[in-house]
Amino acid sequence: MVRIRNLHFGYSRKHPLFQNLSLTLEQGHIYGLLGKNGAGKSTLLKNMVGLAFPQAGTCEVLGQPAAKRLPAVLADLFFLPEEVYVPGVTAAKFVAHTAGFYPAFDHEALARYLAEFEVPAQAVLPSLSFGQQKKFMIAFALAANTRLLVLDEPTNGLDIPSKAQFRKIVASALTEERCLIISTHQVRDLESLIDTVLVLHGRRIVLNADLGDLAERLTFATVPEADATALYAEESVRGAQVIRPNRSGVPGRVDLELLFNALVSEAPALTHHLSTQPSAHEPVL
């Protein structure tokens, strides 16, 4: 679905954002892209959808270089930026003018999503609140029914009930043919929704791992005091929050926030543990 090899990119030559970045995304998954502010999450997504061009290396989407922006590829991918733009027309008119670009557009699904989100279909788009505009565009993006769907910080600006509606809609929209990428720094909003976690740090992808696999390999626990078995530890009011190798064989629950903190602080023990255990997923550190 997406195949990136040795990607180099930066807005200035002095400060490259990506160096030798490689990443493969498959259909049938919801990927969560995590990274610190300024790590380049949005820029990576823009490379995938043909809005930024690799300075070296390749970025292929649906088997074609993304930068070529072939109509057949653009008809099968949708990119929703963090800040949505809506023209001064009604929702119905926007759909009438735009849905035609997406051959698989599902009008019934759109009606369902808008009803779920409680967005009025007859309203003039710019007269809606920012959150309502965003929900309309999320509904449109999902209804476009493209094989590749890229959502940049979709839950930003959504209120609490809307976040639950968002998870419900996205969970029911995944099919075996589709690939969804959601970038976020609101880990808690999405941790039950994504199945594969990508961490962008230090100009490359430092983790591309199935959450089920991670749960089998790592244990996340709160203990009175961190001991030598801890691959990473963080002090908290309840005690030390630790990541340990999973010796029980029973998969637990992955604490994405703790895992993210461990990876961006470059905890050497964790890095070593993950890199020494073979996994079906690449690149894993």
Partner: protein
């Protein structure tokens, strides 16, 4: 559904499905929600629900009719009870033992309280009148 912090979500969903079967909400041989329907209802990844259904299928709680969907197995209640029993004895009980050891609580005290508890469960009205 609110998820607990330290148990894999697919196992928590397996517990939820088992509960529905034990309480008779999903009777034997009835068709259960599709993977996508349940994923939407619970707001979780469909692959997670698939993993739950595969686990319950391997435990003979569910069966799969190709192209139609998942169904509750005829002996699902017994299978769920057996799995729950196993889980209690191997996972939950050792945790209780650990706490007992830590606090110096001996078995006779636990037994006395268990008998009282059983009595209250079996005779709820006389218990209230006491």
């Amino acid at each position: 559904m609110d998820f607990k912090e330290n148990e894999a979500i697919y196992l928590q969903i397996a517990g939820y499905v088992s509960e529905l079967i034990l309480r008779g909400k999903w009777p034997p041989d009835s068709k259960i929600p599709s993977v996508r329907e349940l994923a939407g209802d619970l707001q979780v990844n469909p692959n997670t629900v698939m993993r739950t259904y595969e686990l319950l299928q391997s435990q003979e709680v569910l069966y799969n009719k190709r192209g139609i969907g998942f169904f509750v197995a005829p002996a699902a209640v017994q299978q769920v009870q057996a799995a729950r029993r196993e889980r209690f004895l191997t996972q939950e009980l050792p945790e209780v033992f650990g706490t007992m050891l830590l606090l110096g609580i001996e078995l006779p005290e636990v037994q006395r309280r268990y008998e009282e508890f059983k009595h209250a469960q079996l005779h709820p009205i006389s218990h209230e009148n006491q």
